[in-house]
Symmetry: none
Subunit: 229 residues, 4 copies
DNA sequence: GATGAATGAGGCTTCATTCAT
DNA sequence: CATGAATGAAGCCTCATTCAT
C-alpha cells in the first residue's frame, strides 16, 4: 500500500504513443510482452555500449529501462540469455541496414559504406566488440557471432565478385580472401577506435578508406601517382 | 617503466633503505622485491590469458602465483595498477621479440612473421585484446596501448619504407597507410581468432597471408595468374 | 476437509454463485474448479516428492501442472495453504489405502503391510517426511500431522489388541505402546531410506521385518532357535 | 575510516578468557583460524536448530556469530561446505558423548541413555534431522550421515552382543538387527518430537523406554505381569 | 473469474580493498 | 615488511505475492 507508487512508474506516455500509432490500444492484449522485451533489449544494448560488458549489470539495465531487476529476469532467463538476445538483435539491425544499402550499382560506394560503418550512429560496433571479448568464455556468444559474421562475409564476397566481373576490383585474388581482409581491416579499426580516436579523425579516415580501395583495385586503376596524404 | 610511480603503494625508496639498515647485503632484498613483483605479473598475465579480464580477480592471480591475497595488494596499489603493469610488461616482451627478428634483410619474411604473430606462443594477443576491451573505461590502459601501438606501427612503417625502396612493396600508397592496414588486419584476425578458430586453420591462414602479401606488392610481382586457394 | 476455510482465498461460496449466474449448467464450473485444484494439489505432491520442500516453489508446481503462476495463487491463499492442503490430501490417500487392506483376518499380514509401507509406490512417505521437517516452523503442518498420526496409531492399536486377544501378539506390553514402537520404527526407516538405500535392500528388509514381528510376538512363538540372517 | 567501529566488534573478552585459560596468548599465531571457524560452526548449529535448514541462511549464521556475511564465506567455501562441516562436528560431539558414557557395565543403563538421547541438551537431533531432510538433494550430507550412522550402529551392536552374552538381551534375534530396530525407534521418536511433544512427556516417555527394554529382553526377564501404563 | 506482468526482498557468492598484527 | 582476516558492496538469481487487466 505504501509502495504503490512504484507500480505505475513504467507505463509512461512514450509506450502508449508507440502503440497508439499502430492501434487504438484496446484491452492490452499480447504483443505487449514482445514490446517490453524489445525495450529491455534496447536498454541492454545502450548500457553495454556505454559501460562495456563488465559494467553491464542487470541492475543497470533495469534501471536504464525504468524497471526493477526482477522485471529483467522475468523477460530473460538469465544474463547470458539476455545478452545472447542482444547479439542477435544487433546483428539483425545491421543486416537490415545492409539490405537497404545494397541496391546501388557502384561497388566502390558500397565498400565505402561498409568500411565506414564504424561511424554509423548505431551501437553495432561497440556492442559487438564487447560481446566478442567475452565470447571465449561465453560459448553462446561465440556461436552466434560466428554464424552471423560468416553470413556477412558471404554478402561481401558476392559484392566483390560482382566488382571483379565489372573490372573495378582486382581479379588476381579470390573474392572470399579479399572479403576476409576487408572484414579484418574494419574489425581492426573498430577495435582501436575507442583507444585511438584521433587515428580515425575524418581526414585521416578518408585517406585510410582511399588506401583500402586502392589495395583492392586493379593495378591500372590507380595510375602511377602516389596517393596523397 | 615511465609510470612505475603509481604501481607500488607503500614501497618508494624507503624499501631499500629499510632493507639496508637491517642487513649489509643490499642487492638481495630489492631483487626479491622485483622478483616477486615479476612473478605476480606473470601470474596476472597467465590468468588474464586463460580467463579473460572479467575473470581475472586479484584472488585468482594470487592463487596462481602461489601467494596470498595480501601480497598482491602489497605489490600493487590496486587492480588497475596491476593490470596497467601487465600491459607494459606484455608490450615489453613483444618489443623484445620484434627486436630479435628485425635483422634479416628480406622484408617479406618480416611481414610474414608480423602477420603471423597470432600464432606466436606468447600470451601477447589474448592479453592485449582483453585489456583493450576495457580500455575505454580504464583510461590508464588506453594511454599505454595507444603509445605503444603507435611505436609498433612506426617500426612497421620503417620496414615497409625499406621494402618500397627495394621495390618489393607497392609504392603507390604511403608506407604509414599500409602499416595501418596491416596493423588493422592482424588486429582483426586476432580478435576473431577465439571465435572462429577454423577460419585460421593452417591451410587457410597460409592463403590469407599470401593474399595479404599480394595486396601490398607492386602489380608486376604477382604476374598474371590468380592466387590459388 | 475440516479446515478448508483457510485454503482458498477469493473463492468462498461466491464461486459457484458466479458460475451459476453465467451459465445454467451448474455442475461443471464447480467441478472444473475442484478438478483444477486437485490437479494443482497432485502437482504439488509430485514436486515435493521429487525436489523436497526446499525446492518446491509455487512456480515449479504451476509449471508441473501446466498452469500459470497466477493459477496457483488463485486457488490457494499462499504457499502455506497449498502445502497444508497437500498434507491433508496425502493422508486421505493413505487412509484410503489402509481401509482397503484392513479386512484380512491375519494380524501379522497386516503388520507386514504396515511396516512395509515404505515400499508403497505412493509418494506418501517422502512427502510426509519433507513436510514434517518443516512442521516446527509451520504450525499448520504440525497440527494436521499430529491429528492424523494419532488416528493412524489408534487404528494400529486396535489391530494389535485383536492380535493380543488372538494370542499372536505378546500380551505383556500394552497395545498402544507397541503401536507406538511400530510407528516409530517405520518412521525411522522411512527417514533413513533416502540416505541408506542399501540398508533396505529386499533381503535385509525381509530380515528386519521378520525381526520386528519376533519382537512383538509372544515368547513361545519363536521357539528356541535364533532368527537367521 | 568512518566505519572503524565494526572492526573491533567481534573480539570480546570471552574469546580471550577461553584462550587465556590454555596459554597466556602470545603473538596471536595460528589456531585463531580454527577457533573462529569453530565459533561459526557453533553459530550455524544453533541457527539450524532454532530455525531449521530452510531458515538457516548464511546471513543469519553470520549475524548470530556477530560477523558479516563475508566472514562466513571466508571460512567456508560455500553453504554446502559449511553445513557439511556442521554435520561432522555434530557427530563428533555425539561420539564424544558416547565415549564418556560407555564405561558402565550395566547394559540396560546404557540403552536407557541411548534411547533417551532425545532429551540430551545438545542440538544433535534437531540438527541431524534437518540436515537429513535435505540429504537426498545434498549428496554430501547423505554420504557423511550414512558413514557415521553406520558407525553408531556398530557401537550399539557391540553393546547388545555383550548384553546377549550376559543374558540381559534376548538372544533369539541377531544383535545387529536389534541395533537396527533401536536405531530406527529413536530416529522415529526424534522425528516426531517437534510435532508431538506431549507424546514424549516425562511419564509417557518413561513407559516407552520401559516397553522398549521389554521388547529386547529375554522372555523370562519380564515375568508375568503386564507393564503398567 | 483468471491471468501473468511486475515487484522487492532475500539468498548465495565473488570481489577489491582495508587494517591489525 | 608482509600477511591474511574481515568487510561491505555488488552481482546474479529465485521466490512468494500483488494487481491491473
Amino acid at each position: 500500500m505504501s509502495n504503490d507508487s512504484g507500480s505505475v512508474r513504467r507505463v509512461p506516455q512514450k509506450a502508449e504513443e508507440g502503440a497508439a500509432r499502430l492501434a487504438p490500444r484496446r484491452g492490452r492484449p499480447a504483443g505487449d510482452h514482445k514490446a517490453k522485451r524489445a525495450e529491455l533489449l534496447k536498454a541492454a544494448t545502450a548500457v553495454i555500449a556505454r559501460e562495456g560488458y563488465a559494467g553491464a549489470s542487470l541492475r543497470k539495465v533495469a534501471q536504464h529501462a525504468g524497471h526493477t531487476t526482477g522485471a529483467v529476469t522475468y523477460y530473460f532467463a538469465n544474463k547470458e540469455a539476455m545478452f545472447t538476445a542482444v547479439v542477435e538483435s544487433v546483428f539483425d539491425e545491421f543486416d537490415a541496414f545492409l539490405e537497404t544499402s545494397r541496391d546501388p550499382a557502384d561497388v566502390k560506394t558500397i565498400l565505402n559504406q561498409w568500411l565506414n560503418r564504424t561511424s554509423a550512429d548505431s551501437d553495432f560496433w561497440p556492442v559487438i566488440f564487447q560481446l566478442l571479448a567475452h565470447a571465449r568464455h561465453e560459448p553462446a556468444f561465440a556461436a552466434i557471432i560466428e554464424r552471423r559474421y560468416a553470413k556477412l562475409r558471404e554478402v561481401l564476397t558476392t559484392i566483390l565478385e560482382r566488382g571483379q566481373d565489372e573490372g573495378v576490383i582486382r581479379g588476381d585474388i579470390p573474392a572470399d580472401l579479399i572479403a576476409d581482409q576487408l572484414s579484418a581491416i574494419s574489425d581492426g579499426w573498430m577495435m582501436m577506435l575507442p583507444v585511438e580516436p584521433e587515428r580515425f579523425a575524418p581526414k585521416r579516415l578518408q585517406a585510410l578508406l582511399q588506401a583500402t580501395i586502392a589495395l583492392i583495385s586493379p593495378p591500372s586503376d590507380v595510375s602511377d601517382d602516389r596517393l596523397g596524404r
